[in-house]
Symmetry: C6
Subunit: 264 residues, 6 copies
Amino acid sequence: MHARNKPLADEVNLEHVAQTTAGFTGADLENLMNEAAISAAKDNRAYVNQDDITKSFIKVGIGTEKKSRIISDKEKKITAYHETGHAILFHLLPDVGPVYTISIIPTGLGAAGYTMPLPEKDEMFMTKSKMLQEIMVSLGGRIAEEIIFGDITTGASSDIKKATQMARRMVTRYGMSENIGVINYDDDDDEVFIGRDLAHAKKYSEEMQGKIDEEVKFIIDDCYGKAKAMILENMDVLHASSELLLQKEKITREEFEALFVQNA
Amino acid sequence: MHARNKPLADEVNLEHVAQTTAGFTGADLENLMNEAAISAAKDNRAYVNQDDITKSFIKVGIGTEKKSRIISDKEKKITAYHETGHAILFHLLPDVGPVYTISIIPTGLGAAGYTMPLPEKDEMFMTKSKMLQEIMVSLGGRIAEEIIFGDITTGASSDIKKATQMARRMVTRYGMSENIGVINYDDDDDEVFIGRDLAHAKKYSEEMQGKIDEEVKFIIDDCYGKAKAMILENMDVLHASSELLLQKEKITREEFEALFVQNA
Amino acid sequence: MHARNKPLADEVNLEHVAQTTAGFTGADLENLMNEAAISAAKDNRAYVNQDDITKSFIKVGIGTEKKSRIISDKEKKITAYHETGHAILFHLLPDVGPVYTISIIPTGLGAAGYTMPLPEKDEMFMTKSKMLQEIMVSLGGRIAEEIIFGDITTGASSDIKKATQMARRMVTRYGMSENIGVINYDDDDDEVFIGRDLAHAKKYSEEMQGKIDEEVKFIIDDCYGKAKAMILENMDVLHASSELLLQKEKITREEFEALFVQNA
Amino acid sequence: MHARNKPLADEVNLEHVAQTTAGFTGADLENLMNEAAISAAKDNRAYVNQDDITKSFIKVGIGTEKKSRIISDKEKKITAYHETGHAILFHLLPDVGPVYTISIIPTGLGAAGYTMPLPEKDEMFMTKSKMLQEIMVSLGGRIAEEIIFGDITTGASSDIKKATQMARRMVTRYGMSENIGVINYDDDDDEVFIGRDLAHAKKYSEEMQGKIDEEVKFIIDDCYGKAKAMILENMDVLHASSELLLQKEKITREEFEALFVQNA
Amino acid sequence: MHARNKPLADEVNLEHVAQTTAGFTGADLENLMNEAAISAAKDNRAYVNQDDITKSFIKVGIGTEKKSRIISDKEKKITAYHETGHAILFHLLPDVGPVYTISIIPTGLGAAGYTMPLPEKDEMFMTKSKMLQEIMVSLGGRIAEEIIFGDITTGASSDIKKATQMARRMVTRYGMSENIGVINYDDDDDEVFIGRDLAHAKKYSEEMQGKIDEEVKFIIDDCYGKAKAMILENMDVLHASSELLLQKEKITREEFEALFVQNA
Amino acid sequence: MHARNKPLADEVNLEHVAQTTAGFTGADLENLMNEAAISAAKDNRAYVNQDDITKSFIKVGIGTEKKSRIISDKEKKITAYHETGHAILFHLLPDVGPVYTISIIPTGLGAAGYTMPLPEKDEMFMTKSKMLQEIMVSLGGRIAEEIIFGDITTGASSDIKKATQMARRMVTRYGMSENIGVINYDDDDDEVFIGRDLAHAKKYSEEMQGKIDEEVKFIIDDCYGKAKAMILENMDVLHASSELLLQKEKITREEFEALFVQNA
C-alpha cells in the first residue's frame, strides 16, 4: 500500500518486504518508505531499490528490538539454535554471507531473532548456484531445530515460504530446471502494469503443473539434505554459537567466526 | 471489519476471533476491540495481540452468560460430557492447559458451554508436539459424545474446523509432514498486505493437493485415535466431572483436578 | 438483505429463510423481520433467533393463504398425498414433529401446501439421528408422489435441496461420516465476517470431492429407502389423510393422529 | 434489470423471459413490465406471475409483427416446416398445447415465426411426463428441418437451449433421474436473495458432473428419437400445414386441427 | 462501449465488430455508431442491425485506406495471394459471396488488405452448409500462403479466430454435430441481460469439453482440406488474380470473375 | 495506464512495453508516451505504433544509461557474453537484425546491458520462419551463459518470457503448429473492447492444453538446440566480441561485424 506511491526498482521483492514487515503499523511502514526514499536520494537514484529498503528496515524495524518482552528459556534456546543454523550456512557457502550479526532479541516485527548477513553489493542478477545456496540458508534454521530438539516449531514458516518461492521461480521463471526447460510458466509478474485482473485461467496444463511440483520438491529436498550434512559436520560450532547467543543475546561477525577457529 | 481499524500483531488469529465472536452485534465487536486496545495500551504495546483479544473476549463475551435461556436436560448432559472431553485432554497433555474453568452455561455467543484453559504465556512459536495436542484437545468434545451417547451432534463443528485448520497448516505452511516436505503450499497468507485479489489460481497441482489431503486426514485420524484412548482411560473422571457440571453448571480448576485424585 | 441490518443468532439458517420466503416482496420481508425483532424483544434477547423467525413467518407468510387461487383437482390430489408423505414421517420418527397442521391451501409464498410441525424448543445443536430423520421427512413428499402416481413432479425441489444440504453438511461440516472422518471440508461458512471474497480455490482435491459426493449420495439413498418403507407400511393412513385433506383442505394434529388409530 | 424493481412470483422463469425478449430495447422492457403489473393488479395480486408476463409479451412483443421485413422464399419455407414441427407435437402430446396460433410473420423480437399454445392454467408444479413433452416440443422445429431439408439451420438455437435447460434441471434440481438420485446438484438458484457472489466453486466433483452430462444427453437423445418418430408418422400434416402457412402466413387452431382430420 | 448506448438487434455480432474495429480511436467508433444509427433511422427501425454496421464500417473504416503507408514488395505479394485465396472460395462456394472488391491497400484498421463480398440479404438464420462454407472462406487466405510460399504468416489470426468461433458454435449452440447431439454447451450468451457475473463455473464436464474439442478440430481440419483442394484446382486463377492485384492494388467483381473465364 | 489515454495501433505489443519499462517512474512513462505521440504526429498518424514507442524508448529509457552504477567484474563478464549471444544470432539469422549496437552499460531500466538491432520496417505481419528466429535470438543470451560459465543466471527471465509467449502464440493464435491445427485456443485478445470480465472459463479441455504445452515445449527446445549449435560454431567471435565489450562497454555494428571477418 505504502510502497505503491513511490517508484520502486523492478528488483525490489515486494513479497519479501511484506513478509518482513508483517506486524508494522501504517505509521511504521510510512516511516520505512520515507527512510528508503532518503537513502535513494543520497544515491542520486529516482527510484527505491532493495538495498534502500533493507537499510531502512534495519533502522526502523530491527532498531526497535524489544528487550522488555518476556521470552521463555525454551524459546530462547530454540531461537539460538535456529539462528545459528542459518548463520553456519551463511558462513560456509561461498556466494552468500558472511554473517554480520546474530541476535535472539525479539524484534518489533514479531520475529524471535534474526541473522543478518553483510549488506550485499547491488547485484543485477543471481546465479543458479547462489539461488540454491540461499535456499539452503533459509532451511538452516529448521534443520538445526530438527537436529537438536527432535521436535520442530512454527518459527520456520517464513523461511519455508521464501525457499519455496525461490525454488518455484528457478523452475518457472528462470528456466533453471533441465526437465522443465527454458520456458516461462509464471503467471504472476507484470500483471500490475497492464492493469488486468489477476483472475485469469492458467496458461498451462495440470500435467505440466505436476511436473513443476516435482521439480520444486526435488530442489528443496536436495538443498535440505546438503544443508543438513553441512550443519552436522559443524556440531561443535552449532553448540558453541548457540550457547554464546544465550549468554550475550547478540553476537558479531568476529565472535561468530572465532568459533570456527576454536572448533576447527 | 472492526479489527481492521486497529494494528494487530501478526500472531492474532483473525479466523479464530471470527469463529468465537459469531453472534456478536456490531456494538459487541466494537466493545471487544476497545477492551483489547486498552489492554495493549496498559502493556505499552502499539499493537493488539492475541492475549489482549482473549482477555477482552472473556470480559465482553463470556461475561454475558445467559442463565435465562432454557436448555433441555438432554442438551445439558451432552454439553457436560462434551466439555469434560476437552478438559480431560487439556489436563493430561503436557503442552496445553491446565484447565481454568469449565462451564455449561450457554454464552452470549451461542455456545452451549466452554472449557477455558489458563491464559498462556505470549509464545512466539508453537512446536509440532503442541500443535498435535491442540488438535487432540479440539477433538475431545466429539470423542466424549461418541463414547457416551453413541449418537453425535452438530455441536463439534467449530472444534472440527479448528482441528482441520491446524492440521492443514502443519502440512502446507510449517513443513511438519515428512511426506510433503519443507515446502509451502499455502495460498492464503500475506495476501492482504499486497492488496492482491484472492482469486488467483492454485500454484500446485491436483495430485499434490491429493497428497496434502491424505496427510491432513492422517494427522486428524491419528490424533482422534490417541485422544480417544486417553479419555477411555479416564472414564471415571469423565462421569464424575460431567455429573458435577450438571449440578453446579460451572467448575473451577481445583474442583476439576480433585476429581483426578479421587478417581486415581 | 433485510436480515443483515439486525443481529441474528448464529443458529439462524439464512438459507432456510431464503428458501421459504422466495416470492416475498421487499415489504413482506421488512414485515417478517420486524415481527421477529418484536418477538426477540419480548424474550429480552438482543438478537433474533430461529424461533422468532419461524413464528413471524407463520404470522406474515402462511397467514396470507390465498384461497382465491384456482387449483386443478389433479394438483390438489398430488399436493394432498405429497403433504401427507411428509406428515406420516413427522409422526413416526422419534426426534421430529409431531404434526401441528397439514394444509393444501396454496400459500402467499407460492407453495401448494404445507405440513407444519409443532414449534420446537430452541435447540443448541442437533444429533446425527435427528438430522437423518429430517432428511427422511424432507423426502417424504416425493416418495408419496412416486408411490401413488408413478409420475413425479417439480414440487419437491426445495425438499430435495434441503435434504442435500443437510446430508452435505453432515459429511463436510459435522464430521458425521466415518469414511470421510472428523475433518472440515466446508468452504462456505464464516466468510462473511472476514469480508473476504468467496471466489477462493477449494482447499481439497477432486478425489476428496468425489468421496464426499459418494457419502452424500449414500446418505440420501439410504434415507429414501428407509422413509419409503415406512410410508409403504402406512398406506391406509396415506390414503385416509389425503382424502380428508381433499375434503377439508386443512387438518389438525388431532384429526391426523386419529387416522393412525383408526387404521391401526 | 427492469424485472428487478417489481415483485415477481417465484414461478416466473426469468431466463425464459430473457430469451424471448432478446432484442427488446429498454423502453420495450419497461412497457412489457408495466403491462404485466397492470395484469397482476386486475387479478388483485401483489406480485407479477408468469401468466401476466406471457399476456403482456403477446401484447407488446408479438403485437409488433413486422410484415415489412423481406424474407426469402427459402427462409419462409424453412420457417413454415420448423413451426409446424413444433405444432404437431403440441397437438399430439397429452400434457401440452393445444396450438392456438402458428405464424411465419417475423416478430419484433427477431424470431422468424412462432407457435403459440393456448395459455395454460397457472400450474403450481410440472410432472416429469410434461417436462419430457416440453422437451419434445422444443426439438420439433429442428426435427422438421432435418427431415425435410437434410440441411439444418441456426434457427433452433433457443429451442436447443430451452430443451437442454429443462433436461439439466430434471437431473440436478428435481431429482427425476434414477441414476443420479434425489439430490440437488444445481448451483444456480436462490443465490440472488442471499446476495452472495456467484463465482463459488462447484460443490460436487468432475466425476459427478460427467454422470450428469450423460443423463442430460440421454434425456435429450431419447426425446429427439421419440419426437422424430411422431412427426414421421404425420408427414401429410407436416406438408399440408407448412403449405397452408406459406399461403396464409398465420393459421388458427381450427385450421391446424382440421388438417389432422383431412389427413387421418 | 460505444455500442452499449444504442439498441442493437440480437443478430449483431459484437465480437465481429470488435475484431474489425481494433485500431479505431474512440472518435472513430463514435463515428461508426452514428452512421449506423442514421442507417437504421432511414429504414424506420428502432434498433441497429448488422447491415447498418457493415455499411457504416465501409464508410468510416475502409474509406480511410492509407496509400501513404510503405509496404514491402514481399508483404504486398503475400497479401495479394492471401486475399485471392479468400476470393476464390467466395466465388466457388454456392451460399457465400460473390466477391464485390478485392484490395491490397492497407486499411485504417491495420489490415493489409480485404476481400469484400456483395452485401448479403438480411438473413434470419444460417444453414449448416453455409456455416461450413464461411469457415472454408476464412481459411482460404492461410491456405494460399501455405501453397505459394511454404512459409506462413501471422496475418491469418483473425481468420483463424472467426473460423474457430463458427465451428465451436456449430457444436455447442446450434446442435450441428451428430456426436455431440442437439444440446447446448454454450455458456456465453444471454448473460448480459440477466446481469449475472460471467465468472460462473462450467455446466458440463472436462470429458464433454474434450469431445467438443475433437468435434471443433474435425470441422476445421475437414474444411481446411476441402478448401485447399478447391484452391489447388484453380492455381491459374490464384496466380492471375494475385498478379492483377499487385498491378492495380484493387480489383472489381468483373475483373475477378473474368479471370475464371480466361483460365477455364 | 499511461498508454490507455492515447490511441494505440493494434500492433503495439503492450506486454513488451510493460516488460521493457519496468522500473520507470510515472513521469518516465508520461515522457515516453509524449515522445511517441510526437513521433506519430510527425508521420501524420492519428495513432501511436510500435515504431514510435521504440524510438521514444531509446530516447527516454536507454538514453539514461547510468555509468555511475558499480557493477562487479563478474557481472560485466556475464553480461558481455550474454549480449554477444543475442548479437551472434541477430547477425547470422536471415530475417532478424542486423545488430546496430551492443552495450554492457546498465540502463535506467534495470537491464545489465542490451543488444539493439537496426530498427525494422513497420511490418504488417510476421512469417513463421521469422518468429522462430526471434525465439532463437531471445534464447541466445542464456545459451552463451551456459556454454561459457556452466552456471546460469536470473538475467534471462525476460528473454525466456518473450520466447515462451511467441511460441505459445504460434500454437494458439497463428495456427502454426501442424499437430494442433489452424484453430484459435487463445483466450486473451479482444476482451478489453467488449468490456467483459476476463475471469471466464477456458473454452477448451485440459487434454488440449496438455497438447499445446507439448508443442510450445517442442518449439522452444528445438530453437534452443539450433541456436546453441550456431553459437558453438562461432566461439571465436563469442570470445572476441565479449572481450571487446569488456574493454569498450559499447560496440557498433561495424566493430561487431569486423569480428566475423577476422575470425572467419
